[in-house]
């Protein structure tokens, strides 16, 4: 079950992507398709992005559109820091924390003020971006790769927003909060793994 989303996405991308880029065995990041798949290829990235959308949908205007813009923009700042290998706190821990905190905000139905929500999302976006940025210069097509992962990030936010808006009634709201709780629990798991690595 957990492989369905990336499997469907991979199949769709395989259809629309150029087939001429395959090479046996190499794990190097490639171009657009590779970049688009990158946020989908790790549960920590994927859950954090969707949580941003879920939380934005819950918080409503203006955060419903500010958060899915803030995250990619700050992710780019983090990516640039990664490309230049600037010193950064442990990135895997930051990413794991993002899943825990964002999931927790959804679970707790936390109505943060605009400045706080933007700050939280922006801070965590730096960590996600840094992780992408460390790989980016070694991609065979860095421009395609970077475009792919920014668009995938935005798409995941939209998925979170759509889910959040679709659950705009009492039972749906409870379901979303439960989902947020599950995401936060996974965040704890990721944190333990990252801290132990």
């Amino acid at each position: 079950m957990r492989n369905i989303v990336p499997a469907v996405a991979a199949a769709a991308l395989a259809i629309i992507s150029s087939p001429a880029a395959a090479h046996t065995g190499t794990g190097l990041a490639g171009g657009f398709a590779s970049g688009f798949m990158h946020p989908l290829s790790g549960w920590d990235h994927l859950l954090a992005m969707i949580s941003v959308g879920l939380w934005g949908a819950f918080l409503g205007r203006p955060l419903i559109y500010l958060l899915p813009v803030t995250f990619p923009l700050m992710m780019v700042v983090g990516a640039v820091a990664g490309m230049f290998a600037l010193p950064m706190p442990p990135v895997e821990i930051g990413i794991a924390l993002s899943v825990l905190v964002l999931g927790g905000c959804v679970a707790a139905a936390f109505r943060a003020p605009v400045w706080l929500a933007v700050t939280v999302v922006a801070t965590f976006a730096l960590f996600h971006g840094y992780a992408h940025g460390r790989e980016l210069p070694s991609a065979a097509d860095p421009i395609g790769y970077s475009t792919g992962f920014v668009l995938a990030t935005g798409a995941l936010h939209v998925v979170g927003i759509v889910i959040g808006l679709a659950a705009d009634h009492r039972h749906g709201a409870i379901a979303i909060r439960l989902a947020g709780g599950a995401i936060a629990v996974l965040g704890v798991v990721f944190l333990v793994q990252a801290a132990g690595a």
């Binding site: 957990r2 492989n3 990336p6 499997a7 996405a9 991979a10 991308l13 395989a14 992507s17 150029s18 087939p19 880029a21 395959a22 090479h23 046996t24 065995g25 190499t26 794990g27 190097l28 990041a29 490639g30 171009g31 398709a33 590779s34 798949m37 990158h38 290829s41 790790g42 549960w43 920590d44 895997e92 990413i95 794991a96 460390r134 790989e135 210069p137 070694s138 065979a140 097509d141 996974l186 798991v189 990721f190 793994q193 990252a194 690595a197």
Partner: protein, 269 residues
């Protein structure tokens, strides 16, 4: 380590050019007819003439059917319309060998260096970097080339015994245990890998179709006796390659000393 699964769709464009081989313009020639050769590097869309300078070539010779070594360096003209020309008066199967020094250097960022080690099957090097905690460090190596090609002079019916199945003394060498030029379509081609004179186990050997070389046709790991067996698909232009590396002393400026070896030939059946 966060929960991650292997990316399902890594359409990676290989911007690398690891492989090197001798490419004769023709695999067969009449006695005395010049055979033009180029030095090629990279496969698929990245295939190109190697820009190696002539001063780095320490051996360029042919081994005649009777075992005599013929120095081919006078026929070298690296960087011209082709890179070398050789002519052989006596009929027979000749093994042309080329070796370089190891003064070429490669410096790659960690991600690319680790990927290169994985693609070329250099698992001992990966294990070494892992145990030393250097998987995030850039990789630097010296590397050398050891290439062989098989050319046939005169008609097939009147060939004296060849030296194809004998080692030519390369530091890293692919030695066929049967003459590839006599193996029919689908026939077995056993090869033995030698590193510094001893059989090498665990090396990744690749078979490439030089007419469609974006990806290898087959890959095999050499066994404990250094042997790997391929099925020759049939007529065509073929190339086998293998890479091996060893760690440099701590006083060295690079981490590894890597040897690239190839064997190219044209199967006519």
């Amino acid at each position: 380590m966060p929960l991650r699964f292997a990316p399902l769709c890594l359409l990676a464009v290989a911007a690398d050019a690891h492989d090197f081989w001798l490419q004769p313009a023709r695999w067969q020639a009449a006695p005395g007819e010049p055979i033009r050769m180029t030095l090629q590097v990279g496969h698929g869309p990245y295939r190109q003439r190697s820009p190696i300078p002539a001063r780095r070539i320490v051996r360029f010779a042919a081994i005649a059917p009777n075992g005599r070594q013929i120095d081919l360096r006078p026929g070298m003209h690296i960087g011209g319309a082709d890179d070398a020309t050789a002519a052989f008066g006596a009929p027979g199967t000749y093994v042309v060998v080329l070796e370089t020094d190891n003064r070429a250097e490669s410096h790659l960022p960690a991600i690319r260096f680790n990927d290169y080690l994985k693609v070329e099957g250099l698992t001992p090097a990966i294990a070494l970097r892992t145990s030393a905690g250097r998987m995030d460090a850039d990789g630097a190596e010296n590397y050398s080339r050891h290439a062989k090609t098989i050319v046939r002079v005169g008609l097939a019916g009147a060939q004296p015994a060849s030296r194809v199945t004998k080692p030519a003394g390369l530091a890293l060498e692919i030695v066929p245990e049967a003459d590839p030029l006599t193996i029919g379509r689908g026939g077995a081609l056993p090869v033995r890998i030698y590193y510094r004179g001893t059989p090498l186990a665990g090396a990744l050997v690749k078979l490439n179709d030089l007419d469609h070389d974006a990806e290898p046709v087959a890959m095999r790991r050499s066994d404990a006796q250094g042997r790997a067996v391929f099925r020759l698909p049939g007529k065509g232009n073929w190339q086998l390659n293998v890479v091996w590396t060893r760690p440099q002393p701590k006083t060295s400026l690079t981490d590894f000393d890597t040897s690239f070896s190839s064997l190219s030939f044209g199967a006519i059946e």
